[in-house]
């Protein structure tokens, strides 16, 4: 069956199987920033934005994305540079092996889009669906706090 969706602002018409997941479709189409981790919604490595909300793409049927907008980590940066969350992760060293990073960044972008001044507890809850086996989460939380500040400054302009 055919579906039409927007991936990172590009309209795509794709042939899919009805039982295929969004994760399988996106990786097949070359969006390798979307990682397969557990495949059961536990680790968050496969997170993408679906109509602006972060979801585990391993548990979303590809057909459910028909007519909707998908943003992967590849779609966050623009001509002016990285997304503030990506930039803060980079500067803070909130990465080690990097496998969880795309999903973690996507979850943080959802959080900051819907809550411009989250508390630390809310930041922790915001990334509670994303497992990181290397870093211990401290630097990610610091990075997200920095992104909050910068995005707040941008909003004042």
């Amino acid at each position: 069956m055919r579906i039409t969706l927007t991936v990172n602002e590009a309209k795509r018409e794709l042939e899919i199987e009805p039982g295929e997941t969004l994760l399988e479709l996106l990786r097949r189409e070359g969006y390798k920033g979307v990682k397969k981790g557990c495949g059961s919604g536990d680790c968050g490595a496969c997170a993408v934005l679906l109509d602006g909300r972060a979801v585990n793409s391993c548990l979303v049927l590809a057909v459910k994305a028909d007519g909707r907008e998908v943003v992967t980590v590849e779609g966050l940066a623009d001509d002016e540079g990285l997304h503030p969350v990506q930039q803060a992760f980079l500067e803070e060293g909130a990465i080690q092996c990097g496998y969880c990073t795309p999903g973690m960044v996507i979850a943080a972008v959802d959080l900051l889009t819907h809550n411009s001044s989250p508390s630390e507890a809310q930041i922790r809850e915001g990334i509670s669906g994303n497992l990181c086996r290397c870093t211990g989460y401290v630097k990610q939380i610091e990075a997200i706090k920095i992104a909050v500040e910068r995005m707040g400054e941008g909003a004042d302009d």
């Binding site: 069956m1 199987e17 009805p18 039982g19 295929e20 997941t21 399988e24 495949g39 059961s40 919604g41 536990d42 968050g44 997170a47 679906l50 909300r53 972060a54 979801v55 585990n56 391993c58 548990l59 979303v60 049927l61 057909v63 459910k64 979850a107 959802d110 959080l111 819907h114 809850e125 915001g126 509670s128 669906g129 994303n130």
Partner: protein, 285 residues
């Protein structure tokens, strides 16, 4: 592929079409909301998916009967709704924040949470304690107490769950929910929801529900009966928690032992009732 045996995907635009597709699809047809469980468990007998997302069932409405929530409303949409945040001191939002992760709550629907009847569900015990009602459509609309849906779910055969209604709380009512899990994200080892209505200092309505025992959330009538007509004091709370522990039918599974769960029920009931007492006291000021 994740769900390889699925051959057909339907997205009907009317409830009548859903029923027709269900009849035609027979045993292989499955209704999906967020579709999480379908992908996760990939049941081999499912060949046709009937997606409810085009039925305009994503809504939260306030009417004279209470808060009506459409079946395909996501848990995140409920958390972010201002009226829900005010319902009984935010007890629903407080519970939903403990369900899975934000990523999963963006997908999971309230209809799916109630219809799939997972024994570890946090939603079901609280909604049972709140005396929620569900609307089913089988060609006509029927409203039944949520408690009638379980444990068999026979009402769902040939029906679609379209809405859940949380009744307007009577004055002097407070509710509370507590759960234990190994991590913030894991399913509950045990959860408990209580609702109490107090008239002139005496408890006149009491509902105590425990879930993840490890079976589906169910009322603890002996514990509720102990509190009826009594005042909420340290002594009565202790007594009720004790009866809850003794009367609850807990079992062993790979997550926890029956004995440990009994102790968790005691602690959960106690915390719930203490919180209810505090909330009622705050409400009077």
């Amino acid at each position: 592929m994740a769900v390889a045996h699925v051959k057909e995907y339907l997205r009907p635009t009317s409830l009548e079409e859903v029923l027709t597709s269900l009849r035609e699809g027979g045993k292989g047809a499955r209704v999906i909301g967020g579709g999480i469980e379908l992908v996760l468990f990939s049941p081999p007998d499912v060949t046709t998916l009937i997606d409810l997302s085009e039925l305009s069932l994503s809504y939260i409405k306030e009417n004279e009967a209470g808060l009506a929530i459409g079946a395909t409303t996501t848990l995140t949409q409920i958390i972010e709704h201002q009226t829900v945040a005010q319902y009984l001191d935010g007890v629903i939002v407080g519970m939903l924040h403990q369900v899975a992760s934000p990523l999963l709550r963006n997908l999971a629907t309230i209809g799916g949470s109630l219809a799939s009847a997972n024994p570890w569900s946090d939603v079901i015990p609280l909604f049972l304690a709140l005396d929620a009602k569900v609307t089913l459509f089988d060609g006509k609309y029927h409203s039944i107490p949520l408690s009638d849906l379980y444990p068999t779910r026979s009402h769902l055969s040939g029906s679609i769950l379209t809405e859940v209604l949380l009744p307007v709380p009577a004055s002097g009512t407070a509710a509370s929910f507590h759960q234990f899990s190994r991590t913030g994200f894991d399913v509950a080892l045990l959860n408990c929801a209580c609702l109490v209505k107090v008239d002139a200092g005496r408890c006149t309505v009491v509902r105590i529900v425990a879930g993840g025992t490890p079976r589906l959330g169910a009322a603890l009538p002996a514990a509720a009966e102990t509190l009826m007509g009594m005042e909420l004091t340290d002594e009565t709370i202790e007594q009720v928690a004790h009866v809850a522990r003794e009367s609850a039918d807990t079992r062993d599974d790979r997550r926890a032992s029956a004995q440990y769960r009994k102790q968790l029920i005691y602690v959960c009931v106690k915390r719930c009732l203490q919180e209810i007492r505090d909330r009622l006291a705050e409400g009077k000021q």
